[in-house]
Symmetry: C2
Subunit: 343 residues, 2 copies
């Protein structure tokens, strides 16, 4: 597989982006194409041992930042994001990965890869890492102000993804809302509810965050703004809990054992602590954004994974994993066929 990685995506690029790409090449043996200003990209790459790895650099003199709008994206045809998209479009690569500006990735994908026939707006899609049964969640941030029709289309793409890529029969589709009742939510959400009721999928109504996190729907649909706040709140809580648990562990060890019981306490207490850590470590891992890596942009003619601006190297590496999975699962032809069949 050949995967293009934007060397100038993350907030602290190119460090995490290049390191993550090298980690991915080493772990899975894929061919990685880094895009970005060539000299700086090569300089960053030289910090790593890349012997035996298939990593090349394609020059992209321009960079799109978090402050850039779609007009800047249109203008900067030689930015790393647009060059990366064109490599996918021209069949030079199987997927594109960026931890850059979501809106810039969305606009570039629309300009260079084009939308799948019939799709008005692509949606950024993820699979919840927490639920026991995997749940498809979209939109994570591509369209802040969708129309009810755009939400319907997101639902249809999510349904095809759940059914054909994840193998969930007759997936339950829910709308993320502040209450179960039909009249809850914004005006757009209430109109979407009416559209969903007559749509050709298994609509289970509004789902509140608690039910969504419990996996009571297989596909959860939200507008891009609320979806982004939902996911980022979950992440924020996760890192809060991680800090608390770490703090409490230290606190327990040092104040309770260290000061009160000292040596006998260490002998008695530490084995218990060590026995607990696998569970807490598993918890921390499940709550770690870097394990997710990024979201899949559904609705364009190519595999595009968009990560957080805050991505570290591990997140970039796992964004490459998400790209590999999407290519292997033939997501694009599957979504195309599914949407065409749904008409």
């Amino acid at each position: 597989m050949r995967i293009v990685v934007d060397a100038f995506g993350s907030d602290t690029c190119p460090g995490p982006d290049v390191e993550g790409a090298v980690m991915a090449a080493r772990t899975w043996g894929d061919e990685i194409i880094l895009v970005g200003p060539e000299a700086q990209t090569r300089e960053e790459l030289a910090k790593h041992d890349t012997q035996g790895l298939e990593i090349s650099v394609v020059h992209a003199p321009e960079v799109l930042t978090m402050a850039d709008h779609s007009e800047d994206v249109r203008r900067k045809v030689n930015s790393s994001i647009r060059v990366g998209m064109r490599l996918v479009k021209d069949g030079e690569a199987d997927a594109f990965v960026s931890a850059g500006n979501t809106i810039a990735c969305l606009a570039s994908a629309i300009f260079d890869l084009r939308r799948i026939r019939g799709v008005r707006r692509p949606a950024l899609c993820t699979v919840y890492p927490l639920t026991l049964n995997p749940t498809v969640f979209l939109d994570m941030g591509a369209t802040a102000d969708p129309t009810p029709q755009i939400l319907l289309q997101s639902a249809m793409m999510g349904k095809v993804y759940a059914e054909r890529v994840m193998g969930i029969a007759n997936p339950r589709v829910g709308l993320l809302a502040n209450g179960e009742e039909e009249e809850k939510g914004t005006m757009v959400l209430r109109e979407a509810f009416a559209l969903f009721k007559t749509a050709d999928f298994n609509f289970v109504g509004n789902v509140e965050p608690k039910e969504a996190v419990k996996g009571e729907a297989d596909v959860v649909v939200a507008d891009g703004f609320t979806g982004n706040i939902h996911i980022k709140t979950a992440e924020a809580m996760a890192s809060f809990v991680k800090r608390m648990v770490q703090h409490d562990l230290l606190d327990s060890v040092w104040s309770k054992i260290g000061l009160v019981l000292l040596v006998p306490g260490l002998i008695v207490g530490l084995p218990g602590l060590l026995l607990l850590t696998p569970g807490l470590r598993r918890l921390a891992k499940r709550l770690d954004y870097a394990e997710v890596g990024g979201g899949l942009l559904l609705g364009v003619n190519g595999v595009v994974i968009v990560g957080h601006g805050r991505s570290n190297a591990k997140a970039v590496k796992n964004a490459v994993l998400r790209a590999r999975e999407a290519v292997a699962a033939q997501v694009i032809p599957t979504i195309k066929a599914g949407l065409a069949a749904g008409k």
Copy 2:
């Protein structure tokens, strides 16, 4: 203090509502007035030992459910929520507490208590239980589709609350958003950003959920829909983490110690486990919605606390605590004076 508690608010009323009210009366010695259909309310009350407590019942033959709209609220003048509001309006009580329909409480408060002069829409306000420095958060769900002007007014009420009730000098006001940049968010949010920039408070720009949870603003403003999803996502994550931690504790004890080391393991491991629990218990407590109790409806002429439909008795008891605090802090005259001064 005299506090009215809606006996028919919560999803499983009147059980948790009456039990919570009894717990509150016992704990703080306040006079509690229960409102609801009299026979059923008295029957529920008879299940508890109320000796020495000042608890009375005021008959309200109608009940407003989660499915009721503002028109139903207008019509059901003898519903428990409306009767409760009128008791506050007529000076028969100092505050009203309900775990019922938020929109019904909002509409009743507007009908019976009236809005504070100059307030277009009240906002449901809470203080984050997680941050080190307390953060005022609003709107938790009163107005799903606010205009930018309504958001501005929420910010002003939040600022007055932070400054005059919580004693935070020159509170930092932020807008909950999906990115720090001014151009992030929905169209309404971007317009609000422009209004906030020229407003008479310390606007620190957009704050993402992570920064909000870290306490990087003293007042965080959101529309009622996104605000509700934000808070409910945090709660959902909290209960998820609690379940995981409990599961992991059991898992560690039984699979790791119980099966592998058995008796020596129990002797060695359990003290460590017990030493850890105070921290985890503190964590669980901080993450428990029932400790919060409910939000304060800011912008009407009376103290109104609205809890979750899912409230248990502890949540109802703590909603009464929130009401006591608001009355003691003279929130209503303070907000009135603050808004009048800000003109």
